[in-house]
């Protein structure tokens, strides 16, 4: 049994932590968010130079060949600085899908570009009605002699306005709710018929609504097998969820530490407010909540580690349980951080609210706590 980081992982952690501490302070982040792009291309170039963008990709494409643990290490540290650059959409979503759709020319072309920092990606899957059931999809791709023609509207596409390339999920057969019959396509962001409406998210990240209006793409833009897009999506979900939850535990650590520190310096009634037991007990609860969430991330890492668990059901139980635990802990920790900071916690100027908003967003991504609890129940409790 061993929960230690390897030497390489410790170095990676150190490299991200140092960058966040030295070059990505709260003011820098604020400037980046209010810039037109809402991200820093300089930062992204540094991420590439430091090798972070290569971590999950196979050596075959010039990647580092890292796994979930390496991703968790990076994401936790990025979380501590609530870094807004599109690591999740470009590396985990877009890059993840490319890596998992079988060997193909598009991946061979684009993955090296991702690693160099020249290709920014987005995954357009969510629609106005789909909420957490991604397969609830109305966007269609129709086959013709010349290739494919895509029509439909996607909501809240992360990094949608900065992406050079977009993977779009569209229905190629079946009914609106069917798991099968969805296919993935690669499109250049400037293809005719694509219109992009960008906006900021409450967590400082950039997203967009994207309309596909008779968007014509070549036949070889199809990624993986026809109608089996959801299988590829399911393959990347463990890493995406582990990455997001690792980011969340980084954020929780910052919030708890800041809150405890604040109560020691804030005086009311002639004493530091940390001396009130009413607050002490609550901070003990938030401390425990953060530890429990961390344990769940480790548990999921073990479940999806190499050869650790063959039981698919048990793996999925750990994955859902992780998202449930992170949702519960983040809600408690975020709300207590604001409450215990009093009026200060309500200000836009202090960093607390910004950390809380990123936690809120993570909770709503790829299923909130209740969604995962339903899934957990379904695979855990049956009479026979």
């Amino acid at each position: 049994m061993n929960f230690q980081l390897s030497d390489e992982q410790a170095m990676l952690k150190d490299s991200v932590a140092r960058y966040v501490k030295d070059q990505y302070n709260f003011d820098t982040r604020k400037k980046i968010i209010s810039s037109e792009k809402g991200m820093s291309t300089e930062s992204w170039a540094i991420f590439s130079d430091l090798g972070w963008l290569s971590i999950p990709f196979s050596e075959h494409y010039g990647g580092y060949g890292g796994g979930n643990e390496d991703i968790a290490v990076i994401m936790e540290e990025l979380g501590k600085g609530i870094v807004v650059e599109p690591f999740v959409p470009t590396i985990l979503l877009f890059g993840g899908l490319l890596s998992h759709c079988g060997p193909n020319d598009i991946a061979a072309d684009l993955i090296p570009k991702i690693i160099e920092g020249h290709c920014l990606g987005a995954f357009a899957y969510l629609e106005r009605q789909s909420r957490f059931e991604i397969a609830d999809m109305k966007t269609t791709a129709i086959h013709s002699k010349k290739g494919w023609c895509i029509n439909g509207s996607k909501s809240v596409v992360l990094n949608g306005s900065n992406a050079t390339h977009i993977i779009v999920a569209a229905r190629t057969s079946g009914g609106q709710y069917d798991l099968s019959g969805i296919s993935l396509f690669m499109v250049d962001a400037d293809t005719r018929g694509i219109s992009i409406l960008p906006y900021g998210m409450m967590d400082g990240h950039k997203a967009a609504n994207i309309n596909f209006d008779d968007v014509k793409i070549p036949a070889d833009a199809l990624l993986g097998n026809l109608d089996e897009g959801m299988r590829i999506v399911e393959k990347i979900m463990p890493q995406v969820l582990i990455g997001l939850c690792a980011e969340a535990i980084g954020i929780m650590a910052v919030l708890n530490e800041a809150t405890v520190a604040y109560t020691k310096t804030r005086h009311q009634f002639g004493v530091p407010i940390s001396s009130f037991q009413a607050l002490q007990h609550r901070m003990v609860d938030t401390f425990m909540a953060a530890e429990q969430a961390r344990s769940m991330v480790y548990r999921a890492l073990c479940a999806f580690g190499e050869g650790n668990l063959d039981d698919e059901n048990e793996r999925m139980r750990s994955l859902h349980a992780m998202k449930i635990s992170v949702a519960k802990s983040s809600k408690l920790i975020g709300e207590e951080a604001i409450q215990i900071h009093g009026g200060m916690g309500m200000t836009d100027e202090l960093n607390i609210g910004h950390y809380v908003k990123r936690l809120m967003t993570i909770n709503l991504m790829f299923g909130d706590g209740d969604y995962h609890q339903r899934r957990f129940n379904k695979i855990s409790y049956q009479a026979a």
């Binding site: 969510l126 106005r128 009605q129 909420r131 957490f132 059931e133 397969a135 609830d136 909501s155 809240v156 609106q176 709710y177 409406l197 906006y199 900021g200 998210m201 409450m202 967590d203 997203a207 609504n209 005086h267 009311q268 009634f269 002639g270 009130f276 009413a278 607050l279 809600k331 709300e335 604001i338 409450q339 009093g342 009026g343 916690g345 309500m346 200000t347 836009d348 100027e349 609210g353 910004h354 809380v356 908003k357 809120m360 967003t361 709503l364 991504m365 909130d368 209740d370 969604y371 609890q373 339903r374």
Partner: protein, 397 residues
Amino acid sequence: MDVTFTKEDLVFRDEVREFFATEYDFSMAGSLNLATISDGECYKDAIVKWQKKLHAKGWIAPSWPVEYGGAGWSVTQKFIFETERGAAGIPAVIPFGISMVAPVIYTFGNEEQKKKFLPRILSSDDWWCQGYSEPGAGSDLAALSTSADLVDGEYLVNGHKIWTSYAQYADWIFCLVRTSKETRKQQGISFLLIDMKTPGISIKPIVTIDGRHHLNEVMFEDVRVPVENLIGEQDKGWTYAKALLAHERTGMAEVADSKRAFSELKERAKYEVNGGRAMIDDPLFQMRMSDVETELMALEYTELRVLAAMAEGGTPGPESSLLKIKGTEITQAIQELQLQLVAYYGGGIPSNVQKDGCGHAFAEEARCGYLFGRAATIYGGSNEVQRNVIAKMVLGV
């Protein structure tokens, strides 16, 4: 035990309903929703316009003594009015003038002060704000240090107030200031009314986590305030303010508004779907909703118990102390469900051109409501402080 209304009460209820239906400009509802205001001046104009209509009807300050402009309503009538207002989705009257400073003026002020201030509060011609909190004096309000020194027949005010809600609209501010440092810290405090146009006052906006401008810092630098603006006796302000705080706290159950918010939630849950199924049909979401609704049903009757005691002319029992804590916790619980309902779509901050960015019209209200709503357990005496008070005063520990 029963809660049926008399015939007269029912007639009154119909009159209230009719008035709201005909006089309230429902097209202005967006501008009047604090969770979604984007244009402050527009908000102020809309609310003042509405309050003037209430004033014309004689319903702006029903709780005041009749001689100053109150409506002389029974407790039941006040309850009916509030219930109907909430049900119609009409915002409550801005409290700072009508229900915060005015009771202090008519209870502890002199005749000139009553004549000068009360009519303009009733007519909403003066907007008031509350200058109590300071950077060093939040929960421990008596630690305040803004000073008022009597110099040549005027008070010279110096200091720094913070978290002052809507000071950017205000014509007047009522302040607690320190007039003596000699005594126990609660003594030495005075209640002073200050014209916001007086030289030496400056305002600095504070943007909150919902991205909006509700709060301010108000700085006083050698601000000269005539002694006529002192309420009651010098150094006795704490007593007056405490009477007022009690007023503020019982007004925070907000049952009528929570019932309205809950029914909106229920309505939205019919249209929000997951996997083709309406959220209102989802057993887990139903559990979340009924957790909140049952608490609200209980709170409604707790409030009725308080009102019944007051109707009998008595003072409310210990149950009144829980109104603020439970009321704010329920408000927040409903806001949490709104956010859960709008899900990921609520995270987007659409530009002004594109109000319902992701096709979910209540997204902004849900997000901003939740975020600004966090403050309800902080202001008006934080819920921690409220619990301390109940432990001491009610449980006697």
